[in-house]
């Protein structure tokens, strides 16, 4: 029983980390109809931000997150203006490969600038553990978990309770009509994209003390995040959160039962199955899968 609880706790914690990435990715898709293949690269940049501030100035990641996140936000603004905005409404090939190109670019720019060396960061939280009812929870992961859920909640409230949030939803549902409501559609795109990638960057900072940092670290996450957002229904924020937690638990459970490698296979198989049987995802709206571009 203890073991089962521990497996679930592990899954939930890691799922919370995924959630912060997945919420942003799903939001970008929902509003811009762009699958942001470069999403996890912003997490990688966030991790490097945390590393350099820590290595050069001894800044704790829990402080540097307030510096790095705005920088990544600005980077998001630039990327939106230069790349993403130009691909919106274009053929699938543009929409898919523009951000895929960005991902290759950022990954290798990091490789060229900072080499493949593996780096790591520590904070007071590294290695500290709470024990709740015999279940051990890493402090660092619990912090990131809490931030992820708070972010998702804040985003959800923003989208459904504020006028501007509803404006962004309006853009997601019909660009032309939204423009006719006086909504600055380009600005909505920019804000959506930048907020989402800034969240990925923040997540990078927060997990820097948990994972090691190297240029391809984003790649270790991105496919899992895709699985999550499709499972949750592309475009659905609550769906992404629930699916992230679910995937976390499935992975940790399947990994324990079948071994990591075959557990991995199992969950990709589930992913394919969901795509085939219920492409709108578990919580998505029917028809979303045929929106395409």
């Amino acid at each position: 029983m203890q073991l089962v609880l521990q497996i679930i706790a592990n899954g939930l914690l890691i799922g919370g980390l995924y959630a912060l990435l997945a919420v942003g990715l799903t939001l970008i898709f929902g509003v811009l109809r762009v699958v942001n293949f470069a999403h996890a690269e912003f997490m990688m940049l966030g991790m490097y931000g945390a590393y350099w501030l820590w290595a050069l100035y001894g800044l704790d990641p829990y402080l540097s997150v307030f510096l790095v996140t705005p920088v990544i936000f600005l980077l998001g603004v630039a990327v939106d203006r230069l790349i993403v905005r130009r691909s919106i409404g274009k053929p699938d090939v543009t929409v898919v490969f523009a951000t895929l190109g960005l991902s290759i670019f950022l990954q290798n720019a990091a490789l060229t600038l900072w080499r493949a060396d593996i780096r790591s960061v520590s904070t007071f939280a590294t290695g500290s553990v709470f024990v709740v009812g015999g279940v051990r929870l890493s402090v660092a992961m619990t912090v990131s978990f809490a931030v992820a859920l708070l972010f998702a909640l804040a985003l959800w409230i923003f989208l459904t309770r504020t006028m501007y949030g509803k404006g962004i939803q309006a853009v997601a549902q019909n660009r032309r009509a939204a423009a006719l409501m006086g909504i600055d559609v380009k600005r909505a795109y920019m804000i959506t994209y930048s907020v989402a990638v800034a969240a990925a960057g923040a997540m990078g900072v927060l997990v820097a003390p948990i994972f090691t940092i190297f240029p391809r670290v984003g790649q270790t996450q991105i496919v899992t995040i895709f699985v999550i957002v499709v499972l949750g229904g592309l475009g659905s924020v609550p769906g992404a959160v629930i699916a992230a937690l679910l995937v976390g638990i499935i992975r940790s459970g399947a990994g324990f039962l079948f071994g990591t490698a075959w557990g991995e296979l199992a969950y990709f198989a589930v992913f394919l199955l969901v795509l085939i049987v219920r492409p709108q995802g578990l919580f998505g709206r029917r028809g979303a899968e045929v929106y395409g571009g």
Binding site: M163, K166, Q173, R176, M181, G182, I183, V185
Partner: protein, 221 residues
Amino acid sequence: MIALHEASITVEEGETVTVLGANAAGKTTLLNGISGLVPLRHGTILFNGESIENLPAHERVARGLIQVPEGRLVFPFMSVEDNLRLGAFTPRARVHLKSSLERVYDLFPRLPERKAQLAGSLSGGEQQMLALGRGLMALPRLLMLDEPSLGLAPLLVQEVMDRVARIRAEGVTVLIVEQNVNQTLKFADRGYVLENGWVALSGSAAELGASDEVRKAYLGM
């Protein structure tokens, strides 16, 4: 009040003006050009004396230049009331949100009954009412209607036209594009006939309705 050179059109305050023309004559393009959804190749648009052709769409909306687009384009996964609220997105309209909402609910009594329902689940006629109401929420100085009766059952066509006439009666300036030429000419003040992007003919509604050319080309008589 408004001018689009090459296809030059003027709408004075308080007027109802209709644009007629065969398909592909450029009527929708004209409205979208005024709204800023499509860029103008050249020409100027003056709105209340201000040149606005270089402004983005949302800033034209902020100045009260409102379009109710062809095909209604309501936000399907949002409630009726949220759709209406979004109509008053601009700061100018937002301060009057409450009174506007009352006015719209008053004008379209079927909408308050369904205010919590998702707009996508409304029938076509109800959606058109919603789209009109949403347009009114923006407190238009000029309301542009693109084919408000398109795809509607005859019963609803009458209802929509009736509402448009009422909106007009409330003093809203209206520019309307409509294939239902007969009905439109009944309440319009003036009209333009567009051919291949050029204004081929213009005059009062009565003149146009009586013109042989118009009758032959557009009224099927």
